[in-house]
Every structure is written in structure tokens, then in C-alpha cells.
């Protein structure tokens, strides 16, 4: 039977099933096939908070969304065009996210009275009208897989477990994905169990054939490759990009990296990844708590390493006293905060941007430091390098803000040539710098306002540092009022002295009257919303902040050029507060604090409203 081929510009697919159904793997494989085909893509997993939720339950549903297109992709997609539902729980948990006419592929075998009852379905949604308005493909995924593997020497349980590969095969057929990569992947994954490998490959192929031969699937889709820059790519999520970035920073600085960390969701993977990079000059230290984590990192920086600590909100709260010390000591330190929804334990697996205030202001006394934010998963790499650049050049703690959305989301990343990355080499002090051969540990460079980094082991530069107020230059403890006044102002000036690139504005037509100003992970959805508005002829300008402390010097001028400034944030207006205070601009603050990232559709509506009312 000849199948009709339909071309699409973009598609978002969500694979959803029970935690034990292997949905992350399935989605990840689909994403890999898609990447190799040359589409641009973005993915986002969604796991249950519980480690082992009861099977078949609503809160045990695990899903993975892949958004891919023939053009560049900014987000993992607002709502999926296709839902693969491996059981009733997966259908029920995800149905509300589907737009009308979405395609649903359901595993009919799992729609037993018992499973339906587990998730509160009083009647079978496959048999009543509740799925009217969707295109439903009823596929007996489990039994079809078992039948396809009848001649294989695997247990019934192992055969059944291969149903995710059947589903992957079917979707791969539907979207004309290349299959060699998955076959190779399965052979390698089960290299020690060739029979299981063969069964999974067969299930994958059976899924493909099912699409090819079953009348239910009359249409096959194609999404042309995007016009991606040539080069070698890999898929990275925010946490691994950040870990790579820290390694890169150490190598580009010719310094060892020391990570002190205490496990916390969603930052732990940074510790996990870096603990595997000993070869690249990294030492990791799982400390007894976050205070020790940052303390050990500061101790390592004092000794001449690039000290780093990674955490999430509750851990950042514990680190604050040590950050005050780091400000006083004027030593390099990178603090990574992968934000999650707070306060307190909050929603540990959900995303939020609510740590901007603590990053900017969360220390006693006035203890200013640098704060920057990453905007996309792959951008976490460059953000880590930038954090290290500021820390090393200006000898100060730098807070790098990521969040759960960036940490877990992934996208293809064009691998940079290391030689093109910033040169981060620094010079340690080796000689006395004062009159009559004295060493002045707090003599500041006139341009960077950085003090010498004199590490233990350097003869002749023995000196004492500490948290007590000190005199400029000598660094000697001082209770003199004028010294405190001077040092307070100097510490503030040190942050302002950081060289930060100007804020860039994207406004293709140049006649926008409304500017949307963002920071951090909202970059994707804000960009996608602006793109859609412009496609419809609505002019809008977009600017996105990497540096929040200090702010780029041109921010005031940029803001003054627009009638209206909109600041969307996943908090209740923390950046808006700073902008209003600093530039006296009556910015419109648009907020979302339900643990979910913005969708581009909601931003499109909000921004359009501001433009229309302007």
C-alpha cells in the first residue's frame, strides 16, 4: 500500500509512560535519530519526584518531549502535536496539554479495568467520546511486541519490556527517521546479552513494519533538515554543558579546578559529571554540607585553584556567610545555583527563577558580587566560562544562575574549537609590590581593581587575610572608620569595574515600540513568542541579559528607546524590581510561578496585548 507523504515544518512529540517503561531512553533515542537527520531540536524530560512511584499510578508517569524542526528550535515545544501514551496513567496525565487534532498513539493492551481504575477512569476513554477531537491510533503495543518476538529466546517479561522499542520503531517510521543509530545503540547497550539485543532490535523493526503495513497509519511525515552550521555536534543538557564549561575554564586558565559540592536536586549531576573528569584536572569533594562545600572551594581558591561550588536554592542559603568572606578575601570563586521552585524544599524537581534576589542581595552587610545567568542548555557552557573569567580576572565570587529547565533540557551543541575560547590565564603574584620590598596584599590594580593573588608556597609574600575589615593596600586589620567607608565603596566599585559586553537588542524591522527584557532560561520561550509575533507583522524588540551584576552599561539607554518594557520572569518580579529601581522605568512585570516554564503561546498573547495597548 502506498503511503501518503506529508511535509511538516516542525513537530513536538511527547513519549509518556510508566517510570518503568523506558520513556527517557525512547525519547532520547528518537532525539538522537532526529539530530543525525539534521533537524534542529530541543528536548525536555519530566520525571516523577518519587524514585519508585507505584506502577501505573498518575504520579509515576514519566515523559520526554522532543521538539524538532526544519529551522532553528528555541524551546522543547509548548504542547505536543503527538502523544505516545503507554498506559492509561500516561494518557490521563498528559491529555490536558494536547491541542485539538493532536495525534495520540495509545497502547490499548494496558487499558484494562484495573489500570483504568488505578487512575480514576470510570469508563474506558478509548470507548467513550472523551477523545473526540483527537486523532487516535489504537495500537496493541504490548501484544504486538510479544507476537513479534515469539521466535526469540527471551522470557515473556523481557519481550514485553521491549515494547518501548516497538513504539520507537513506529514513530521512527512515521517521521521517516534514520534507524541505523538505534540498531547500533541497542547492540552496544546489550553487548553482554546478545539475545536481549536481538529482541530489542526486532521489536524496533517490528514497530517500523507495523507503520508500513497497517492501514491505520495512512500518512508518513517528513521534516526537512534545518540549515545548521556545519561541524561536529553533541547533545547536551544544561548540567552537562555547565560541567564541560567548568572543565574548559580550568584548562583555558591552566589551573586545576576544585569543586566542593553537596548533593541537591537539580544540581547534583554537575558533581556527578565533574567527578568523572579527574583526567582533565578536576578534583571533586563531596562535602558534609553546603557550608563546607563552599568553604573547601574557597580554601582551594586561596591555594591557587579555580574553586567552584554547585548547588540549588536551599544550599545557596547555607553558603551566604562564606560568600561574605569570599567578598572580603577578594579571591576567585564560582558559585553555581541551579534554581528550583522554593521557598524551603518547595518543588525540588520544578523550575523557577526565584533566586535572583538571594544572588544579588542575600548576604549580610553589603557584600556585592557578580551575578550572571545562562539562557539555554548549551549556553551553560559559555556561561561557566564567563563566570570563571570574571572570577579570575576580578578576583571575586561570581554566582552563575541556571535552573531546572536548563539543567534537564537538552539541545544539539556545535562543539567549539578550544583555541577559540577565551584565554583565562592569570598571573600569581611572585614579587613584593610595595615600597621597600614590602608585600601589599590589598594593593588594587587600577583597571580591574583586583588585588594580587599570592598563593601559599610563594616565598616572601607570606601574609594574612581574613574577614575583619582591613586597610586598603596593606590588608592589615583596621577599625578606622575611614577605612571601612573606603573598603565598602571599593567593594561596590570592584563589581562595577567588571568589563561586561553591551546589551544587544533584536528588532529586525527596527520599528518596535515595545521591548521584552529577559534573563536566564526564559530566552527560548520569549524568543519563540517574538518570532511568532513578527511572523504576524507585530513589531517587538527582544533583549536578554547575561550579566545582572553588574548590568551592562547601555541598559539605561536601551530601555529609554522604547515606550514600554515587558519583563517576563518565573518569579514574582525580581528583575523588574531591579530595573525599576535602577532606571526608574515603569516596566510591565509578567510572572509565572507554578513550577512550569513559560510557553511561547502564553508569552505571545501577553506581549501582543502590551503592543496593542501601547
Amino acid at each position: 500500500m502506498a503511503k501518503q507523504i506529508q511535509h511538516l515544518d516542525r513537530v513536538a512529540i511527547r513519549f509518556a509512560g510508566d517510570s518503568g517503561d523506558g520513556m527517557q531512553l525512547t525519547g532520547d533515542r528518537f532525539a538522537s535519530e532526529t539530530a543525525i537527520l539534521g533537524n534542529d531540536l530541543s528536548t525536555l524530560p519530566n520525571y516523577p519526584a518519587e524514585i519508585r512511584a507505584p506502577s501505573g499510578s498518575l504520579h509515576g508517569v514519566s515523559s520526554f518531549q522532543v521538539h524538532f524542526a526544519a529551522h532553528d528550535v528555541l524551546t522543547p515545544g509548548d504542547s505536543p502535536d503527538v502523544l505516545v501514551a503507554m498506559n492509561p496513567a500516561a494518557l490521563r496525565a498528559n491529555l490536558a496539554d494536547l491541542p485539538p487534532n493532536a495525534e495520540i498513539i495509545v497502547n490499548t493492551d494496558e487499558f484494562t479495568p484495573r489500570n483504568l481504575e488505578k487512575v480514576g477512569y470510570t469508563s474506558n476513554p478509548l470507548e467513550n467520546d472523551s477523545l473526540d477531537g483527537f486523532i487516535v491510533h489504537r495500537v496493541p503495543l504490548t501484544s504486538a511486541t510479544i507476537a513479534a518476538l515469539a521466535d526469540f529466546e527471551v522470557s515473556k517479561k523481557d519481550a514485553e519490556r521491549a515494547k518501548n522499542m516497538f513504539a520507537l520503531g513506529l514513530l521512527s517510521w512515521m517521521y521517516s527517521r534514520p534507524t541505523e543509530g538505534t540498531v547500533e545503540f541497542l547492540r552496544q547497550k546489550f553487548a553482554k546479552k546478545p539475545k536481549i539485543a536481538a529482541a530489542n532490535v526486532a521489536a524496533f523493526q517490528a514497530g517500523w513494519n507495523y507503520g508500513e503495513t497497517t492501514e491505520d497509519f495512512a500518512v508518513r511525515y517528513e521534516v526537512k533538515p534545518a540549515n545548521l552550521e556545519p561541524g561536529t555536534y553533541r547533545s547536551v543538557n544544561g548540567n552537562s554543558a555547565l560541567a564541560y564549561g567548568l572543565v574548559a575554564a580550568g584548562l583555558r586558565a591552566h589551573l586545576p579546578v576544585f569543586l566542593g559540592a553537596y548533593p541537591i536536586t537539580p544540581a547534583s549531576e554537575i558533581l556527578h559529571e565533574l567527578s568523572g573528569y579527574k583526567r582533565y584536572g578536576v578534583t571533586t569533594f563531596q562535602a558534609e554540607d553546603e557550608i563546607a562545600a563552599v568553604g573547601s572551594a574557597l580554601g582551594a581558591s586561596y591555594g591557587g585553584a579555580l574553586g567552584v561550588t554547585s548547588t540549588s536554592g536551599p544550599g545557596l542559603a547555607l553558603k551566604t556567610e562564606t560568600l561574605g568572606l569570599a567578598v572580603m578575601l577578594e579571591l576567585p570563586l564560582v558559585i553555581v545555583d541551579v534554581q528550583r521552585a522554593g521557598p524551603s524544599t518547595g518543588l525540588p524537581t520544578k523550575t523557577e527563577q526565584s533566586d535572583l534576589n538571594i544572588a544579588l542581595f542575600g548576604r549580610h552587610g553589603e557584600a556585592p558580587l557578580a551575578v550572571i545567568a545562562a539562557r539555554s542548555p548549551a549556553d551553560c557552557f559559555y556561561a561557566a566560562l564567563e563566570a570563571a573569567r570574571i572570577a579570575l580576572t576580578y578576583r571575586m565570587p561570581v554566582i552563575l544562575l541556571s535552573d531546572g529547565y536548563l539543567a534537564n533540557g537538552s539541545e544539539p551543541w556545535l562543539l567549539p574549537d578550544p583555541a577559540d575560547l577565551p584565554d583565562l590565564r592569570v598571573e600569581f603574584a611572585t614579587e613584593p609590590n610595595g615600597p621597600d620590598g614590602k608585600f601589599l596584599p590589598y594593593l588594587h590594580d587600577p583597571h580591574t581593581l583586583a588585588r594580587p593573588w599570592a598563593v601559599p608556597g610563594t616565598p616572601g609574600l607570606e601574609h594574612r587575610v581574613g574577614g575583619l575589615e582591613k586597610a586598603d593596600g596593606t590588608g592589615a586589620v583596621s577599625y578606622v572608620p575611614a577605612d571601612h567607608d573606603l573598603m565598602m565603596r571599593l567593594r561596590a566599585a570592584r563589581v562595577e569595574a567588571i568589563d561586561v559586553p553591551d546589551l544587544e537588542v533584536e528588532d529586525p524591522t527596527g520599528d518596535a515600540r515595545v521591548l521584552v527584557l529577559g534573563w536566564g532560561s526564559t530566552y527560548g520561550p520569549v524568543g519563540a513568542a517574538c518570532r511568532k509575533l513578527r511572523e504576524r507583522g507585530v513589531a517587538i524588540a527582544q533583549a536578554h541579559l547575561r550579566h545582572i551584576s553588574p548590568l551592562p552599561r547601555n541598559v539605561g539607554t536601551v530601555l529609554a528607546g522604547y515606550d514600554r518594557v515587558v519583563i517576563p520572569e518565573m518569579n514574582l518580579g525580581q528583575l523588574a524590581h531591579v530595573i525599576r529601581d535602577r532606571y526608574l522605568v515603569d516596566a510591565v512585570s509578567y510572572n509565572k510561578v507554578n513550577g512550569q516554564p513559560f510557553t511561547s503561546a502564553e508569552l505571545e498573547t501577553v506581549l501582543e496585548e502590551v503592543v496593542r495597548n501601547d
Binding site: S32, A35, I36, G38, P230, G231, T232, Y233, R234, S235, V247, L251, R252, F258, G260, Y277, K278, R279, Y280, G281, T283, F285, A287, E288, D289, I291, A292, G295, S296, A297, L298, G299, A300, Y302, G303, G304, A305, G307, T322, G324, L329, L415, P416, P418, A419, L421, V455, P456, G457, P459, G460, L461, E462, H463, R464, V465, G466, G467, A476, V477
Partner: protein, 344 residues
């Protein structure tokens, strides 16, 4: 590198800072003992770093002409751990008080000890919060009247030696501010030890807890309460050795007996190197809050690899062939390891 032997003196270890403790404070004696001990190490000044927390005692680094950091309350062991792990070439010392080490910093103390990081922790125990002007501390005696406990504290104190032993410390010792010779002997043993050393130094706070350790210092009383531990020697004390330490008839503990009334073979011969911590623990329990039968000296000194050397071993194993690669080569290797694809 020049091979000229170092000839430093106590004076070389004095910084230019004016020492600001109260007259009569035991910290002076400890400072002077350490300044006179340091040259003995034969380590150049620049290789030595003192890290302290907050408290009167923690002002220490300012007065020593080595590298030093006066950090924040309780956190010195954590900061020193990061320094020592990333710089195994340094000699790293921590100076702390009883509140700093056992109250706010208790967590860092026990974890540094269990890891056996190569840091020497000197805890000045004056059984009071000095810097904050006289509140009770985690080593103040039960019932002690202080500013914060006007009708007597209701807190049971820690026995610092027992805490350190419980934390898997490989070297645990106690000494007294005023006994320079003894202090030196303990510092010497600690410096020679691989890994963490915990040294409790009884220190007089002349202002808020004056005379707390007089019973251990007063020639009239000290011999009858001070149990001087010496490796390989039977544990006897008293002016003429009339008291000794023997096994308890019940349980696993030790107790004090009259030397005359027990056979010589039953007197415990002190052994710092007993592998299990139980022996040292029972020794630590000989003394009570009233300082009767107070052992001083090295309780425990067992060989265990220092944390840094274990970390270095793992790092070295992972870094085979790295010496020939440039940092950029290494970065390229990392980025291209695993699943990549190429777009043409």
C-alpha cells in the same frame, strides 16, 4: 632549589601585628610555644598556612609570619580541607576554640577527622566563649554559672577527646597552655603524623573562666590529677607514682587503682598505636568534668592514609598520558568523547 638547611628561629615566625589578647590569657603562652616550635619543623615559612575560625583563639594566624586565614566561625576545618586537598605540598594548621570547633563547627571537625585530611587541628579549650564575653560553651561543666546560664547550665558537656575518637580521628592528643615542653612534644608527634591530628589544648581564659585548669598546673595538686601518657610506659601518676590505671573488673573500661595494691603486670602500658579506638576512648573517660585523673599526651596515633594522598592516587591514575597533551588537546578530547555527529 638551594639545599641550604633552613635556620629559622622563633623570631622569624612573629608577624608585625600587635598581639591583642587580655593580660594573663593562655593564648600568649600557646603562641609563643608554637613560634618556638615552628623552626624545628624545618619547613620554609611560605609552605605553612594557618587557618582559623572566629574567637579569641582564632586571632592566632595574624600573629604568625606564615600564610594565614582568619575565616568564619566554625568553618576553618572545611576551608583548610579544600586548601590541603588541592595543595598537598603545604603544611596546613587549624586553630580553633571550644565553641568554634565543637559547637558551630562540630560538623566540619568530625568530617575532617573521619576523612583524615592532612591538617593539624589545635583546639584551644578554655571551656567558655571568650570573644563573646563569657557564655557557656559545649565544654563548660554541667551546672556552670555563666552570663547565659545565671543559675547554672543544664547542658551536659562534650568530652572533646571522645568526640574526636568517635569521629575516626587517627591522631588525638591533649596538652596544656602553660607546659611548653609538653606542648612541643605533642606538636612534634602531630606534625610527624600523616593525616588529621586533633590536639586539645587546655587554655586559661583570664577574664571569663580564670583558673579553670589551675588544678592541673598548681604544683600542690597537679601530680595527683595529671595522668601523663607516655608510649610504652605503664600508666602511673601521683607524686611518687602511687596511682595507676588498670582494667575495670566489670565492662571494658579503665579505672584508677593504688599502685601498691595491684600486681605490676596489671598496670596498663600505654600504647598509642592500638588499632581500635576503644582503648583510647576508655582512657579519655578516666577524667571527669572536675578534671580528676586528666590524661595528657597522645591518646591515639594510628597509621591511615591521608585523604589527599588517596585523592592524588585516583587523580594520577586518571591522568595517564596527560603530561604530553596541551590543555586544548585535552579539552578537545573531552568534548569529542561519546556520542557526537557531524553536519556537513
Amino acid at each position: 632549589m638551594t639545599e641550604v638547611p633552613l635556620k629559622l628561629t622563633a623570631k622569624d615566625f612573629r608577624s608585625d601585628q600587635e598581639v591583642r589578647w587580655c593580660p594573663g590569657c593562655g593564648d600568649f603562652a600557646i603562641l609563643s610555644a608554637i613560634q618556638s616550635f615552628m623552626p624545628e619543623l624545618g619547613i620554609p615559612r611560605e609552605q605553612i598556612t594557618f587557618v582559623s575560625g572566629i574567637g579569641c583563639s582564632s586571632r592566632f594566624p595574624y600573629y604568625l609570619n606564615t600564610y594565614g586565614m582568619h575565616s568564619i566561625h566554625g568553618r576553618a576545618p572545611a576551608i583548610a580541607s579544600g586548601l590541603a586537598i588541592s595543595r598537598p605540598d603545604l603544611s596546613v594548621w587549624v586553630v580553633s576554640g571550644d565553641g568554634d570547633a565543637l559547637s558551630i563547627g562540630g560538623n566540619h571537625l568530625i568530617h575532617a577527622l573521619r576523612r583524615n585530611v592532612n591538617i593539624k587541628i589545635l583546639m584551644f579549650n578554655n571551656r567558655i566563649y571568650g570573644l563573646t564575653k563569657g557564655q557557656c560553651s559545649p565544654t563548660s561543666e554541667f551546672g556552670k554559672v555563666t552570663k547565659s546560664t545565671p543559675v547554672g547550665s543544664r547542658d551536659t558537656p562534650f568530652n572533646p577527646i571522645a568526640v574526636a575518637l568517635g569521629a575516626e580521628a587517627s591522631f588525638v592528643a591533649r596538652t596544656i597552655d602553660s607546659d611548653r615542653k609538653h606542648l612541643h612534644s605533642v606538636l612534634r608527634a602531630a606534625a610527624a603524623h600523616q593525616g588529621s591530628a586533633f590536639i586539645e589544648i587546655y587554655q586559661n581564659c583570664a577574664i571569663f573562666n580564670d583558673g579553670a585548669f589551675d588544678v592541673l598546673k598548681d604544683p600542690a595538686s597537679r601530680d595527683s590529677v595529671l595522668v601523663r601518657l607516655e608510649h610504652g610506659k605503664p600508666i602511673t601518676f601521683g607524686a611518687s607514682g602511687e596511682k595507676c590505671v588498670v582494667r575495670e573488673p566489670r565492662g571494658f573500661g579503665l579505672e584508677v587503682a593504688d599502685t601498691a595494691s595491684v600486681p605490676r603486670s596489671e598496670i596498663i602500658v600505654h600504647d598509642e598505636t592500638v588499632p581500635g579506638p576503644a582503648y583510647a576512648f576508655t582512657l579519655s573517660r578516666l577524667s571527669d568534668q572536675d578534671l580528676s585523673n586528666t590524661p595528657v599526651g597522645v591518646f591515639r596515633r594510628v597509621a591511615r592514609p591521608a585523604y589527599e594522598s588517596l585523592v592524588q592516587e585516583q587523580n594520577a591514575a586518571a591522568r595517564t598520558g596527560v603530561a604530553d597533551a596541551t590543555p586544548d588537546d585535552l579539552l578537545a578530547e573531552l568534548l569529542h568523547t561519546g556520542n557526537t555527529w557531524t553536519i556537513r
